[in-house]
């Protein structure tokens, strides 16, 4: 009796043990994936969908998206986790944060993760404009995912009323200035009722300013991310041009222009033109009661625009098995079909030429040609400023731009001060 119960016990323990180890095997590789958005809502639903689709195709791998707040909060949380020895496997973080991630020793180069020539071809399939700040010191650290770029929006009705061709946006600085003046309207008392143009200048002023500097044929940082070029005469000229649109021409509101309210200004017909992200296309399309056009950002000597947005990063400390799984997931997320689907659903620019050859994208572009403008502008685009201590140096530049736009400092002095300040911050890296 006794032995029987003991045998039973042993047997059941064995069975239990077996089932445990079996489930441990099936309990798969889990990949934690930080994604920079604070809420559920439409975007997270798409991400959840993709993750579920991947899990279905790849049994044995579980994707756990962590929605950790905006970009700044997400990198903060990722770095904290790294320090605590609890790093996620994957994260989408600002492309421009590459230096911080490498400096904090948090990520592995993509080159170490990819294995086959096919993988290599995949990495080479993205737009060069997006890959530029995915690389540092000759190594690739990131895979583009959600990337954006600003474009010029104009109100066709207002163009007609001002005697301009409603189908053509301004092609360079002179024309933009000229159009803006013609489009500015005042009432009897001299108060402006309609502005010619609005280029938002609060918050991250530097992003749109990079459009102006690139259009003037100048880069504001070096590829290594160790030097900035704020005091260059061409940078000063670009800032002066921006300021003069308000101060000299009176075609743009004085003081800082709010990024958040600018689309509303455009929709309400308070401004005839605006610079804003392509991410706003759907919003303007749904709310504007007038036909509107989309065009490249005009430059002085050439077209030019910044790119922004987030890339995939692989974190340090993964087993080889996990790395392979993470790679599989990132590849799944960036197939041309998925990139096209993502772009049409969110307004982000699809990250590779192949995406524009997909039926989904073709149909979307036929219905909404503006989507193609953003792609075509990529030829002229440069990455947003990417240097070491990026947040800090960006803030220095933003402060200088804001000081000028609010009339507190002249452009040359403000940028000279900013250059000195940035050099101080970057001295450890030179």
């Amino acid at each position: 009796m006794k032995s029987l119960s003991r045998r039973l016990f042993t047997a059941s323990a064995l069975a239990f043990g077996l089932s445990l180890s079996a489930s441990a095997q099936a309990a798969d590789i889990e990949l934690r994936f930080y994604y920079p958005v604070a809420v559920g809502g439409p975007i997270t639903k798409i991400i959840d969908e993709y993750a579920a689709g991947f899990e279905k195709e790849n049994p044995g791998i579980k994707i756990k998206p962590v929605y950790a707040g905006d970009y700044v909060q997400t990198i903060g949380k990722a770095l904290t986790a790294v320090k605590g020895g609890d790093a996620p496997e994957l994260a989408i973080l600002l492309a421009a944060d590459i230096t911080s991630l490498v400096d904090e020793d948090a990520v592995v180069p993509v080159d170490d993760v990819i294995k086959t020539p096919a993988d290599k071809a995949w990495v080479e399939g993205f737009y060069p404009a997006f890959m530029e700040n995915a690389k540092l010191k000759g190594k690739t650290y990131a895979i583009p995912f959600q990337r954006s770029t600003p474009v010029l929006y104009w109100n066709k009705d207002m163009f007609k009323a001002a005697g301009l061709d409603p189908d053509k946006g301004p092609k360079d600085w002179n024309e933009m200035r000229d159009f803006a003046k013609k489009l500015t309207k005042k009432d009897a008392s001299g108060a402006v009722t309609q502005w010619g143009i609005e280029i938002p200048s609060d918050g991250n002023s530097l992003w749109l300013f990079t459009g102006l500097t690139t259009g003037n044929g100048v880069r504001i940082n070096n590829a290594e991310g160790t030097k900035v070029n704020f005091a260059d005469p061409k940078v000063v000229e670009a800032l002066q041009y921006w300021y003069d649109l308000s101060k000299v021409d009176g075609a743009q509101p004085a003081g800082l222009i709010n990024w958040g309210t600018t689309p509303r200004d455009f929709i309400e017909g308070r401004t005839a033109m605006m610079w804003h992200t392509t991410g706003n296309l759907t919003n303007v399309k749904n709310n504007a009661k007038f036909p509107f056009g989309i065009g490249f950002l005009p430059g002085k000597t050439q077209f030019g625009a910044p790119t922004g947005g987030g890339n995939f990063y692989f974190f340090k400390g993964m087993s080889a098995e996990k790395q392979a799984a993470a790679l599989a997931f990132v590849k799944y997320m960036t197939t041309p079909e998925r990139a096209a689907d993502w772009s049409t659903k969110t307004g982000y620019v699809a990250t590779q030429p192949a995406a524009y050859e997909t039926p989904v994208m073709k149909a979307y572009a036929a219905d909404f040609p503006a989507a193609i403008i953003a792609r075509d502008q990529l030829k002229y685009a440069v990455p947003e400023m990417t240097v070491h201590e990026n947040q800090r140096v960006t803030k220095i530049a933003n402060d200088a731009i804001q000081a000028v736009m609010t009339g507190a400092k002249p452009a040359d002095a403000a940028l000279k001060d900013a250059q000195a300040e940035a050099e101080r911050v970057l001295k450890d890296f030179n």
Binding site: V37, A38, V39, G41, P42, Y67, A68, T277, N283, N287
Partner: protein
């Protein structure tokens, strides 16, 4: 003289109403925008059609149901802990002449000056060390022992005549029994007033939860609301106002229903 007084009264009446309307204007605007389509936001017209679309959009923009739950749990948890901790401490300070009580009380009062919000760097480290990042207790912990609560209750307990204690003592109550049977019931208005202040403060607290939380399971309403503030697509006031009304509705309704009692509690609590 009498005419002058009447005139003065009229002016006062007018000024009071003007101030009231001015103060209410943001709320009026919020109600207007939330119930109309975005096209009417900057155009006021009485015939504009009403809509609930904005509320629908706001509700779908974030897992608000979960955020409501988080905030509710947080606020109730904090309230219960504050009542318990502050009552015990206040009673000891008021009625038990223990060694070192004066020094300790001075140390408690220090927190009146240095609110936990100021110390967010160090409190962040502390919460991380305790392994409470991204948990509701992590959000609540720095606020549980409230100097304001201890101070308020101590002042109230001090005004309660000692004779009342005697009766309870006679029946064989210990200090805790006396506290529960005599002091707490008399101090009820203070609890109401303090509770309301605490609830509305923590319902609306933003910066600290922003730093501590990083998942939907712990984020309170305010952090969820902040998403609307930092949108790439520009500000959509229709959805923001709807979300604002939605998230503050429980407090607003609660206050409108109980405002008389609320003010009375303050008066009786003798907070001045």
């Amino acid at each position: 003289m009498k005419a002058l007084a009447t005139l003065g009264r009229g002016v006062e009446q007018g000024a009071a109403w003007l101030l009231g309307l001015l103060w209410l204007l943001p709320l009026v605007f919020a109600v207007w925008t939330a119930f109309h389509s975005p096209a009417y936001m900057a155009h006021f017209s009485l015939t504009a059609p009403l809509t609930l679309e904005n509320f629908k959009n706001a509700w779908q923009a974030a897992p608000f149901a979960r955020y409501f739950l988080n905030t509710t749990l947080l606020v109730i948890g904090i309230l219960i802990a504050q009542f318990t901790l502050c009552t015990l401490a206040a009673f000891a300070f008021a009625r038990l002449p223990f060694i070192g009580s004066q020094v300790l009380f001075a140390l408690v009062l220090m927190q009146l000056m240095v609110a936990p919000d100021i110390l967010l760097l160090e409190n962040y480290r502390a919460i991380k060390m305790l392994g409470l990042m991204d948990t509701l207790p992590g959000i609540a912990l720095p606020y549980l022992a409230s100097a304001f609560g201890i101070f308020l209750l101590r002042q109230t307990f001090l005004t309660i005549p000692k004779d009342l204690e005697e009766a309870a003592r006679m029946e064989g109550c210990g200090p805790l029994g006396v506290l529960w049977r005599v002091y707490v019931p008399i101090a009820r208005p203070v609890y109401v007033a303090y509770g309301l202040v605490s609830v509305s403060w923590h319902w609306n607290n933003f910066l600290w939860p922003l730093i501590i939380t990083n998942s939907v399971e712990t984020r309170p309403l305010t952090v969820g609301l902040a998403v609307f503030a930092s949108s790439d697509q520009g500000i959509d006031w229709s959805v923001i106002t709807a979300a604002t009304l939605m998230t503050s509705a429980p407090l607003l309704i609660g206050f409108l229903l109980f405002q008389r009692q609320f003010v009375q509690s303050f008066v009786r609590a003798g907070i001045r």
